[in-house]
């Protein structure tokens, strides 16, 4: 038994004890088929009436062995697979993978490619947060925001589609640079979207931010202290909502982030409401980054000279980026052949989901869905 959990009097790491139930207790299996577990997460809840006494997340229903597949693909062949992990933020996955392999090769993408990568990755962050906002609001019972946020997300997906022909699993980048040159009206489209977005975010905030019911449903729900967050390896908006100013875009800049000015929004309370505010603020910051970047996209080649066959020297590399959901890391071991010896992915959702147990203590059933929503998990990434 882990000491921390025992002291909290809240179950153990071994899972929910289903053998001895109290008088008023029931075991409720939430998922894997459930409207608001965001895919195929299964949560075993031990309930006293509506209160959660103990909880256990059971994952793996979407396991596809992505990491194992990598060992049988060449480096470029594996790139489309990473899009299918966090399928609502495929561009960010691709960025992390391409940069990790580039690091292994000792190559660097040319400036133009880096700026375009930044633009697309930030648009993807906005798209991911928009999807999160809609579904989170839907979980809490607000039926309307999702249609507004999907409307804006559609604009982003249209830009992706024009750029690379795909909307969801984009495979937008290549190791060493970009898959495609930008299309003619790329700058115009991006700028027009960003100009419209500010007012749209205000619109979501009018619906939710000061809504008495929304505040009541999210404030004080799923509280995660900064210490707990760090101890559990939580990253991304969930960590920043707990008051830890940690953003890989600032801490270890990649792509073209060091060129742009932006803030890292943080909050103190670490509850679902703060996570909501942090993500809303992040969308505004991402918009500013995109606007700065699209102003001056440098001219030049879009691919580095890396040769046709990629054969990284033997060795290992860990590279991580700030994905929309947190630190997205790739640990790649090369044995000098055209296929990686091992690829290990550090998906943000997987680590953030570990904090669920702690957040759900003493919560009610309705809070459980609010907490899952506020963590913003994608099961494709958790299970891989």
């Amino acid at each position: 038994m882990s000491a921390g959990n025992e002291a909290a009097g809240f179950g153990t790491a071994r899972g929910v004890d289903t053998t001895v139930l109290g008088e008023n207790e029931i075991i409720l299996n939430m998922g894997p088929q459930h409207p608001s577990t965001h895919g195929v997460l299964r949560i075993k809840l031990r309930l006293d009436g509506e209160r959660v006494v103990d909880s256990e997340c059971i994952i793996g229903y979407l396991h596809r062995g992505v990491e194992k597949i990598a060992e049988h693909r060449s480096y470029p062949q594996f790139a489309p697979y990473v899009d299918r992990m966090d399928y609502v933020a495929a561009v960010s996955n691709g960025l992390g993978y391409c940069e990790a392999v580039e690091k292994l090769l000792g190559a660097e993408a040319p400036p133009r490619a880096r700026v375009v990568r930044t633009i697309l990755a930030e648009l993807q962050r906005i798209a991911s947060h928009l999807l999160w906002l809609g579904t989170h609001a839907l979980d809490i019972g607000a039926l309307t925001p999702i249609f507004y946020s999907m409307r804006e997300r559609e604009e982003i997906l249209k830009i992706f589609e024009k750029y690379c022909g795909a909307r969801l699993t984009t495979h937008a980048f290549r190791i060493g640079g970009l898959q495609y040159e930008t299309y003619d009206t790329f700058e115009y489209d991006v700028k027009r979207f960003c100009e419209a977005l500010a007012a749209r975010i205000d619109e979501y905030e009018t619906l939710l931010t000061e809504n008495r019911i929304w505040v009541g449903r999210t404030k004080g729900v799923g509280v995660l202290s900064a210490d707990d967050a760090i101890a559990l390896g939580v990253t991304g908006p969930v960590l920043r909502a707990s008051g830890v100013q940690w953003d890989l875009r600032k801490a270890q800049p990649y792509a073209a982030y060091e060129q742009y000015q932006f803030e890292v929004p943080t909050r103190e309370n670490g509850d679902a409401y703060d996570r909501y505010l942090v993500r809303i603020a992040e969308m505004r910051q991402s918009r500013l980054i995109v606007l700065q970047a699209v102003e001056q996209i440098p001219e030049g080649p879009i691919m580095a000279r890396i040769g046709k066959v990629l054969k990284p020297p033997p060795g290992e590399v860990y590279h991580s980026i700030e994905g929309p959901k947190g630190e997205l890391g790739y640990y790649i071991v090369s044995d000098g052949t055209i296929q990686p010896y091992r690829v290990r992915v550090r998906p943000p959702s997987f680590f953030n989901l570990q904090a669920f147990h702690r957040m759900a203590r003493g919560a009610m059933v309705a809070d459980v869905v609010a907490i899952i929503g506020s963590i913003d998990i994608v099961l494709g990434e958790v299970d891989r």
């Binding site: 009097g9 608001s36 006494v53 019972g141 039926l143 309307t144 939710l208 019911i213 003493g362």
Partner: protein, 443 residues
């Protein structure tokens, strides 16, 4: 024999028409929702989805009848029937216009409230009989919610009863006619409390916890499908119409048209100026339908749209012709029109709230009722009673005697929301409640 025939006919009409009406309310709801959410809603079945309810009903009736293995079969069968029966019986005392009422009970309001709250049996039994945890949670929530909000709604109704001095639905409307004002202007807080409580009683968002789809799948209806599910659905919408009808009767003058004191006639006739407004409104609607008809993509859609227009013309004709009939005919037809128009407006509010607000949590819902609505309702009732004493003893103007009541209630509401009402509970509350259930919590 004749005295029995008309009520029976009325009952048959209501039972026959209600599923259709409920189906079309659902269609309207989907359309309203779609327009609020920047999309079109049902468009495929018939022009603008006008045949969608019929297609849905057919689908539900043709579906396989699934009863879970370990369900209590008898109660599983009985529960939705109980729900629908309770909802339908409540219509028997509802005056849809002065002429159309199955029975004018002298305790009509009490009867409606009592019978419609019997519907909870259907919910609780259905949730229990399903033998599913989600259903059970939904049923538990529903039972607690209905009991709490029944109290608040009752207090809101009492304030009107004090003003009207009768429980008969007809006499309550008559009282509003005699006093020359809709009671909503006398007791706005009574109406506000009833509005909130009636949403909660009919399990609609933001109080739709018993069937909160994102939390407990579909609550007590989780295991129901096909026709049985349709019965629950029918009961829910029938209840919505009942509470809308009660609110209309009690607060919005029932079948009375606006400006009841304005009686100018067309010169040379006994037709009142304002009574032609409904007919012209229907004509305008018909013109709109005719304008849309040629723009429909398919011939069948053009025809159905045109038919809708013709139907509106027909309604307009009936409304117009009724003006020249006897008083009973005129009041019956126009009364029904105004009653249904007000009920429609009230239901529209329900839809509007549903698509705007997130859902309350269970404990917040209870706090809202017991710590806000019920105290507010008590203050309001006492205030109204004092106002009536002022009016009867010292001949105060009835309207001004109620103004202080409203102001006091408003102040009380402000005080409650400012200091007392912590919807999410204080931190100590939550800690205490959590501590009660968590084993050995010492943190």
């Amino acid at each position: 024999m004749r005295t029995l025939l008309i009520p029976v006919l009325c009952a048959v009409v209501i039972v026959a028409l209600l599923p259709l009406i409920a189906g079309y309310i659902v269609l309207v709801e989907r359309k309203v929702m779609a327009h609020m959410q920047a999309r079109l809603g049902p468009m495929r079945v018939g022009p603008h989805g006008l045949l969608q309810p019929i297609a849905d009903a057919l689908k539900l009736m043709l579906k396989e009848d699934v009863i879970p293995t370990n369900a209590d079969r008898l109660i599983f069968w009985f529960a939705p029937v109980a729900s629908v029966a309770a909802a339908l019986v409540a219509y028997s005392a509802m005056p849809i216009g002065p002429a159309f009422q199955i029975a004018d009970l002298n305790v009509g309001l009490l009867f409606i409230v009592a019978v419609s709250s019997l519907g909870i049996y259907g919910v609780v039994l259905g949730g229990w009989a399903s033998n599913s945890h989600y259903s059970l949670l939904g049923a538990m929530r529903s039972a607690a919610q209905l009991v709490s909000y029944e109290v608040a709604a009752g207090l809101a109704l009492v304030s009107v009863l004090l003003l009207a001095g009768s429980l008969s639905m007809k006499e309550i409307v008559q009282a509003q006619l005699d006093q020359g004002v809709w009671f909503v202007f006398y007791v706005p807080f009574g109406f506000f409390i009833y509005l909130v409580a009636s949403i909660a009683e009919t399990n609609r968002a933001p109080f739709d916890l018993p069937e909160a789809d994102s939390e407990i799948v579909a609550g007590y209806m989780t295991e129901y499908s096909g026709f049985r599910w349709a019965l629950y659905f029918l009961a829910e919408y029938a209840n919505v119409i009942v509470v809308a009808g009660v609110a209309t009767t009690l607060f919005f003058g029932g079948w009375l048209r606006p400006l009841t004191r304005y009686h100018d006639h067309f010169p040379g006739t006994h037709v009142e100026l304002l009574d032609v407004v409904p007919a012209f409104a229907m004509i305008a609607l018909a013109l709109y339908c005719f304008r849309l008809a040629p723009r429909q993509p398919l011939r069948v859609q053009k025809r159905v749209m045109a038919a809708a227009g013709v139907k509106c013309v027909l309604f307009a004709g009936i409304l117009f012709a009724a003006l020249f009939g006897s008083d009973a005919v005129r009041e019956g037809v126009h009364g029904a029109f105004w009653f249904l128009a007000k009920v429609g407006a009230y239901i529209y509010c329900f839809m509007w709230f549903r698509f705007t607000f997130p859902r309350y949590r269970f404990d917040q819902l209870m706090r809202l009722s017991w710590q806000f609505l019920i105290p507010l309702g008590l203050v309001n009732v006492i205030g109204v009673a004092v106002a009536i004493v002022l009016r009867e003893r010292w001949d105060w103007n009835p309207f001004f005697s109620l103004v202080p009541t409203t102001i006091v209630t408003l102040g009380f509401a402000a005080w409650l929301t400012a200091d007392k009402l912590e919807l999410s509970g204080t931190d100590e509350d939550i800690a205490a409640e959590s501590a009660a259930v968590l084993p050995g919590s010492g943190e």
